[in-house]
Homo-oligomer: 283 residues x 2
DNA sequence: AGAAATATTTCCAGAATGTGGAAAATTGTC
DNA sequence: GACAATTTTCCACATTCTGGAAATATTTCT
């Protein structure tokens, strides 16, 4: 089990380094340009769009008609104006769900890696489980144990336990009710009592500790990340071999992880401006 | 209807009534299909996408490469997975017409969440469909069923039914004519008669009720939000597990949702000034 | 370790498909 | 009422897209 898993690398023929390698689809490229034009102004006539995009009206009309059928643009039949459609919003909204936390977290975990030289994981909580969505690997011999997309058990990882610690009592109860207490090592919590004794101390301390509970010889610390409603949406963790993770260093790393998590919470909920203003409107 | 205004009418050759008149651009149509696929999953490989969209891998690759150059999709060079991109979000978010309501509604739904401790959804109606544009999730074990960007069926949700209830007879007729009555649960309305019996009582009551019609075990209440012309532009709903939603509580929540909707109507139609000045510029 | 299977990217001949000028059908203006 | 402006459709032409196959890599067998 403690085999250092290799990250899933890219398969297939590698992309050439040429700047415009790969395909070029003219009609699609033009359609995207039209969407950009439409996004600037709210409601344009066909001829205005054609003029702005520098394309013949018939071509613009054909592209818009196709987009309209897919609901990516609206065409007001009263006044003939074209606008960006709800369908586009629907697709665009998926971006927040999928990419917001990883995009925000990447620079933070990168700095964490450089400071600690241990593996850093960023995991998202989807209501049932934690999923690793970004990571930075330490350069040591012992490498990452979770790969991108790996699921972290709530009862046997620092990330999972810190989520339990900050959840509402009702939600925590629901999680505990269906907990299966799979035993990964001899130190894995196997009863609710044992687990909750551990979890109870996390909130005051500010971070959770995994003391060889998932993998023998590995210790980790983690802290939760919140959204603007103060709901935990994920966690950041630092893990390394027990020989390097003395109790003393665990405390220092724990405080560092907690401050990194706080920073990500601030970024995620829009306190600081690192993302385009559109983010703020729809969080 | 006082429709004697000198509204600018549509100019140019009128569109034919044929359903698929106008242009068809295959490559663009396919690209939109790919975006839809990507929006559903969080990260897919090329071959998965090709399989799902039922297109040859080389074609998919060419389209994705074009979209990537325009930032509409991301391609992770580490693991080769494709996701929806920031550019897509930026264009979708530029949909100014749907921007005003979420901005206004956010504080209202936040208070609604704190008062009720149940999931609150704010959806916008664009004449064809209802789309969730903001939400506040309850802290309980049972969570939201609709996420941002989700489409709400008119016949099987409280939000949809309250829109039908306040629409003009002509518009309601048009909606009913193309209603497909998809059955989500055993309680979903499956005939126009059944649906309209329900809808008929909504206006007098002030709110609509979804009694496990979309999801078994879930009940919800909703009320419509109007613009300054008294046209319904969206709805706010509160939903929770049936065990917590007694008939008695449904009545109380319904009245509360109705008053929240009224407040949003007032704010939206400009009775009170709560928005920052820069907002005006975008209207 | 080598072979087979799987995956991504590029290439290219062939033709399907998109292109855009022109015509048709309207509304607005003088 | 004629003319200008605008949107939509039409259609001949060849540009542009298509998709099978090859190239190049990783993962999994044997």
């Amino acid at each position: 089990m403690p085999e250092s898993e290799i990250l899933p690398r890219r398969r297939g023929r590698p992309a050439s380094t040429a700047p415009d390698a790969g395909g070029e689809v003219q009609s699609l490229d033009r359609a995207v340009a039209l969407l950009r034009v439409l996004a600037e102004a709210d409601g344009m006539s066909l001829s205005d769009i054609a003029k702005t995009a520098d394309l013949p009206a018939s071509t613009v009309h054909r592209l818009l008609a196709t987009l309209q059928k897919r609901q990516l643009v609206n065409h007001d039949h009263e006044n003939g104006l074209w606008t960006v459609g709800l369908g586009l919003f629907r697709i665009g909204a998926a971006y927040l769900r999928i990419r917001k936390l990883p995009d925000i977290g990447r620079p933070v975990i990168r700095r964490l890696l450089h400071e600690t030289d241990e593996t850093v994981n960023l995991a998202m909580f989807d209501g049932n489980e934690l999923v690793v969505v970004a990571q930075a690997e330490g350069h040591s011999a012992v490498r990452a144990f979770f790969r991108l997309g790996a699921r972290l058990p709530l009862h046997a990882t620092a990330a999972g336990k810190c989520i339990l610690a900050v959840a509402t009592p009702a939600f925590r109860g629901a999680c505990l009710a269906q907990m299966r207490y799979e035993a990964f090592t001899v130190r894995t919590h196997r009863t609710e009592r044992s687990l909750m004794d551990d979890v109870g101390g996390i909130e005051a301390r500010g971070f959770a500790i995994d003391d060889e509970e998932h993998t023998l010889g590995m210790r980790a610390v983690a802290a939760p990340i919140f959204n603007e409603w103060r709901e935990p949406i994920g966690a950041v963790s630092v893990s390394g071999p027990a020989v390097r993770m003395s109790d003393d260093r665990i405390q220092r790393l724990g405080r560092r992880v907690a401050s990194a998590a706080e920073q990500m919470t601030r970024l995620y909920s829009g306190a600081d401006e690192v993302l385009p203003p559109e983010f703020i409107a729809y969080r």
